[in-house]
Symmetry: C5
Subunit: 355 residues, 5 copies
Amino acid sequence: MSRLYAGGLGRKSGQAPGTLIHVGEKHASKVTLAIMDYTASDLRELESLTLAEALTFQASKAVTWLNVTGLSDTSTVGTLCSHFGVHTLAQEDVLHTAQRPKVDIYDDHVFMVVKMIRYDEKSRELDIEQVSLVLGDGFVITFQEKEGDVFDPVRQRIRSGKGAVRTQGADYLAYALMDAVVDNYFLALEEMGEDIEEIEAAVLEHPDNDVVSSIHHLKRELILLRRAVWPLREGFGTLMRDATALVKPGTVPFLKDLYDHTFQVMDTVETFRELVSGLLDVYISTVSNRMNQVMKVLTIISTIFIPLTFIAGIYGMNFRHMPELAFPWAYPAVLALCLLIALGMILGFRRKGWF
Amino acid sequence: MSRLYAGGLGRKSGQAPGTLIHVGEKHASKVTLAIMDYTASDLRELESLTLAEALTFQASKAVTWLNVTGLSDTSTVGTLCSHFGVHTLAQEDVLHTAQRPKVDIYDDHVFMVVKMIRYDEKSRELDIEQVSLVLGDGFVITFQEKEGDVFDPVRQRIRSGKGAVRTQGADYLAYALMDAVVDNYFLALEEMGEDIEEIEAAVLEHPDNDVVSSIHHLKRELILLRRAVWPLREGFGTLMRDATALVKPGTVPFLKDLYDHTFQVMDTVETFRELVSGLLDVYISTVSNRMNQVMKVLTIISTIFIPLTFIAGIYGMNFRHMPELAFPWAYPAVLALCLLIALGMILGFRRKGWF
Amino acid sequence: MSRLYAGGLGRKSGQAPGTLIHVGEKHASKVTLAIMDYTASDLRELESLTLAEALTFQASKAVTWLNVTGLSDTSTVGTLCSHFGVHTLAQEDVLHTAQRPKVDIYDDHVFMVVKMIRYDEKSRELDIEQVSLVLGDGFVITFQEKEGDVFDPVRQRIRSGKGAVRTQGADYLAYALMDAVVDNYFLALEEMGEDIEEIEAAVLEHPDNDVVSSIHHLKRELILLRRAVWPLREGFGTLMRDATALVKPGTVPFLKDLYDHTFQVMDTVETFRELVSGLLDVYISTVSNRMNQVMKVLTIISTIFIPLTFIAGIYGMNFRHMPELAFPWAYPAVLALCLLIALGMILGFRRKGWF
Amino acid sequence: MSRLYAGGLGRKSGQAPGTLIHVGEKHASKVTLAIMDYTASDLRELESLTLAEALTFQASKAVTWLNVTGLSDTSTVGTLCSHFGVHTLAQEDVLHTAQRPKVDIYDDHVFMVVKMIRYDEKSRELDIEQVSLVLGDGFVITFQEKEGDVFDPVRQRIRSGKGAVRTQGADYLAYALMDAVVDNYFLALEEMGEDIEEIEAAVLEHPDNDVVSSIHHLKRELILLRRAVWPLREGFGTLMRDATALVKPGTVPFLKDLYDHTFQVMDTVETFRELVSGLLDVYISTVSNRMNQVMKVLTIISTIFIPLTFIAGIYGMNFRHMPELAFPWAYPAVLALCLLIALGMILGFRRKGWF
Amino acid sequence: MSRLYAGGLGRKSGQAPGTLIHVGEKHASKVTLAIMDYTASDLRELESLTLAEALTFQASKAVTWLNVTGLSDTSTVGTLCSHFGVHTLAQEDVLHTAQRPKVDIYDDHVFMVVKMIRYDEKSRELDIEQVSLVLGDGFVITFQEKEGDVFDPVRQRIRSGKGAVRTQGADYLAYALMDAVVDNYFLALEEMGEDIEEIEAAVLEHPDNDVVSSIHHLKRELILLRRAVWPLREGFGTLMRDATALVKPGTVPFLKDLYDHTFQVMDTVETFRELVSGLLDVYISTVSNRMNQVMKVLTIISTIFIPLTFIAGIYGMNFRHMPELAFPWAYPAVLALCLLIALGMILGFRRKGWF
């Protein structure tokens, strides 16, 4: 459940704003710094460098992408951020990994928070990891909590020089990284879509209680996904309109495209939500219908045999004076009467359309 | 289900923006180019021409409509687009046929994505095909995935010279094509409306589980239709306001009319959605009511005969000392008692209004 | 069902915009032209005049109201409209009587589409007829499909000279006609309100399946009514703001009043919709409750008598060695036991609050 | 039900706008005029004065509050309004007491319509009365339908000179009167809140059908209340922004406060609506749960005894060749078998968690 | 329930605006005044001072924070407020502790109302207390109803000089106090989130009626929480935009951060509301499903044994002429028949998928 609320923000209550405390799941991994520093012609890539080395890149005239993995060592993060001129409030937000996605525009840098999402097909749960991104003049810094990300295709493009990324500035790099994050949402949606399809079939064909649980579960994941995506639209809008100092006009159509993709993710999430909500109604309808079937069977059988049993009971009584008992044709007559009653009932039910 | 999510966008994750990959269902058909090049007085129409021939029309001073069917050969599409000056992001969107409908305005051309819709009455499913349209200075290029479209009436009008299309520019042609697409939505709605009418009757008269499935199905198709139409309103609004360089003032009232039609489609879709949603509630109400009827029958029969069977059981006991058994009037008395009890019960149920 | 969708628009697919085809129900009546031409002092009224006569009034300096009934003769309508300078798109909309209500402002005339509504108390259905109105400089043309309208009070006021209508211009006349249409909505609402009251009583007192059908029916009529009224608000807003050339400042407060009335109709429609939606929930609650009552009766009777019948069955067995059968007090003892069990059960149900 | 729709507006259909006809419930009371004419130092108060006397106050330089009770004499109202320069459309609205609350700003006066509300605790119905208020230069005229209002505290403050009312102008007086109306909404809400609390307890503890009726009833009253309050927010907003000629800057913070109160009423109404809507779901859940309990009892008893009765029936058969009947231990064995079966069933139900 | 409506506002109806009456729960505690008066270098802290002493601080050039606990002594509050120049409407709102949260901007001070929230885990109820805050030039006054608040961390930071608070002005202090209030909301949300988790498990595993009550309860608390938080967003927005005289530019990013936190609280509240609403549907689904199970057991047992009992009843009849009774193989034949019927039924139910 801790995934549901803005967990951890409560725990830091009372700290002065700007105090650097890592609030989030503690992952053992220590801070790892990796750098890609490139121009159209050159590329320097370092997988793991010290803080001191990292700081020297601030002076680099090339486009610098500094990727920070692991947030447990707050002093490293603090030193780095301060050196690159990141606002203290942004520093705080880097470390509080339960932030709402957002784009904050400061005087000489832009701070963005997005959620990197993977859908775990087994547990059918979203794995949500916060990625913070600082776009400054000539540099991008990304902060992740855990090893493993969705940026490998971007790294690949930087290395190979394919696409426009090497010839563009830091703003395009920031765009490319955000785009990689948003593209990954479609993968999660695709898998969720398949789950919906399965549940849909189950609801109509064999509606048991596991289906209810699955529907509820999927609904919750969709709420989480929406919460991760919804604020991005406003954020990217802000980025296009207000970050004119850092975002070159040539990058704006790409941001517009990204904005459209976010819209499309939202659209799909809303569609899924409507479908999944509808499924519970379908479930209730189907169960009602099945109960109606069960009731009809019970009613038909009971209604036919209960009166017959009464008749048999009558002639099972031990009164001495029951003249019928002696009539030779009485037994077959009673059997015939029972048959008649049963047939009459069956006809009656037919007419009511019960079977 | 793949029709539900923005399928395919996930699959291209990691590609540089602007990379041309056809994402969508692969249709065997190769790329076919057809052209209509006309002024008020002249018309050149070519059904199938080579890429090289097509490129020559870029210099044509007449209004040129180039229709491209089949998107599997991405290099042809790319060459064509580049030659006509289409932005790389637009080129990418032409090939990704799971785009959200939209209108993007570039410096010297407008790029539109719409969905061509047919309602298959047998499967009761919408057949949705993406049509991309580029409106440039003096030319319109349309891209379709599959053979067969809704543009024949427009072709007819161009050939016959009826209506205003031959005397107007490329902007009017773009309008006429969009109008043909939107007009077709009404046909789909008309057929869906008839389906709703059928389901409505079924819900009230013989509510079985197939009805639930039909309602759910129709609901899903309406969600898909809405998703195809909803973004158009914003798109056409943008077109009227912002595309002033390419859209002549005389065409604006026609675009306004198109905008109104889109509104009317939306209105009808929303009406249908409300009706279909309401039908599930009606279904549940009807089933509840029927179950109530069934329960009443069961209860009436059981309540009357179970006590009577008990009485018969009493006198079926084999105790030696049961003085009543010897009384000559005992048997008729018990029968009369049973009759009385049954009549009393029936009166009681009458008073409760059970039948 | 054809009343639900924008019927007919589909049928004209493929026609050039501006093509005049009457799409709607074909009413046998041919086109009838009636005119009222008045100043503060003079009034010329002609009930039925030829097209040629009608065209002469275009030159009239008085306020001219030309009422056209019957739309089957498209050429008459076309000639008339062209003579009075009505835009081709407006001409097309006059004839397509499934338009969404709207106000289109052209250079020298305003084109309005509204729905004239009557509530048929027997079938409980709305009778919706399209009225188109063209307001030009010094003239108003109204187009109706069928005989019979809601304009008689306006005609009466023009004839008698009561009220401001004779001393005002064509804009005030247009206002007065629209006002007559909107005033009539209140009559329909009044009658629908009485129906809701009836259904409300039925739901709480004798909820049968007809009630479900009535609720669904009323819901649909309210959706239709809303669709007829909702767009008017925007339309009248446009009229006040943008039609400054044709609407005199003195008429604006009257339009504002009309706008407020439209709002009030909407308000009432929404209130009705909420009430009617709520009624289905109330119905389901009431039916659930009744089913609960039925179940309790069944359970009480069954639970009391089924064990007793078993006891009677025990002593109806034919084992040779059942010593109790010989005891003289056994029969009364078993009867007493049965009574005790029954009383115990009844007490138990009492404690559970079942009756 | 007549309280639900904008009753009466329909009845005047066809009248010229501005025609003065009293549409509303006819209350026997004739028109009563009362006046308070005051400056900071002087106060003239007249309880019942003639129309002629009332008209003389138009020239008064003090702040004049003219309260008109009873609207049946339309000519008096008309003369009065015309003398004070009230617009004809406003005059019409005074008499049509089914108006939507609103604030209309004319050149030299403001016309307001509000609803005075009392909650009748016995019938649990809102008593809604229209109050119209004209704010002119130095005067306020209020129109009420019936005797009895919520203005006594304001009269008290004028008489005693307590508070700011005597030293402020007519705009402050209008504010004070509106404030008295809005303050009274809180009383109604307080009583409705107590009713909700009662129903809430009833739903969870003894959910019978009266509860459904109460919920539905309360829901309807809340819809009515919302309809009376909702338009006020826009109205008071207009008053603050646009009535600059008549509203002094010093009065604006008070209007802002009034605006906030209206917001708070709306907030509470919405909260109540959500709670009351939720109660029906809780009701259905509770009834479902109870039905489940009833079903379990029935099933447990039936499932245990029906097979036992069958066994007893077997040995009640009269076949000549049933060797078991002669065994001395057969009877106790059958009894033991019955006990075993019963115990097995009970254990089975336990394991299913049925009791 | 009194927590639901804007309690108390009704009770003061009729008072002149600005009249100081304490409306709220009366807490015995008398008014306690505490002060912190600080610059970057100095700090004077007084725990309990007289009104006269407090007033002297108005002249202090340092940042003065005056905390007032207990509102029963209205004259003290009135004197204090007037001395510090607080507007009479604000004074009134301080004492009416059922205010909607808001930010009112006056000429030389800002008045804010917020709700301090604690979630009582035992009663699962929110404890909501109003805190009013006046931000003036160089001073902040806070008003609380009861002892105990969430400001201790701020006091700690002022005393220790940690963080920026000592070096900033009164606007930053006001921010820090609001921030402490909003941070506390996360604690409440965290605890509510855990409750939701518990209820979620209960609904799916053992859905009894207590769960319905818990869901309803939680829903109500969430409505209350939303009502406390929702208006803050608009309030803080106003503060950033319009309070330029009192809020220094350097404080704006902090307010933006606070605004974002409020957004995040709202987001979480909405998520919780959706989840909790969904839980009732899940509950109904689960109960329906269980009822279906119960019905199946009943129907299987009844349907198998009722016909068998009838057969046994037949051969329990006492007719003299029942030839079968004499056949030696009749008894085993009947037993075999019963077995066959039972097996047939069981197979039939299997095929229907009933177990």
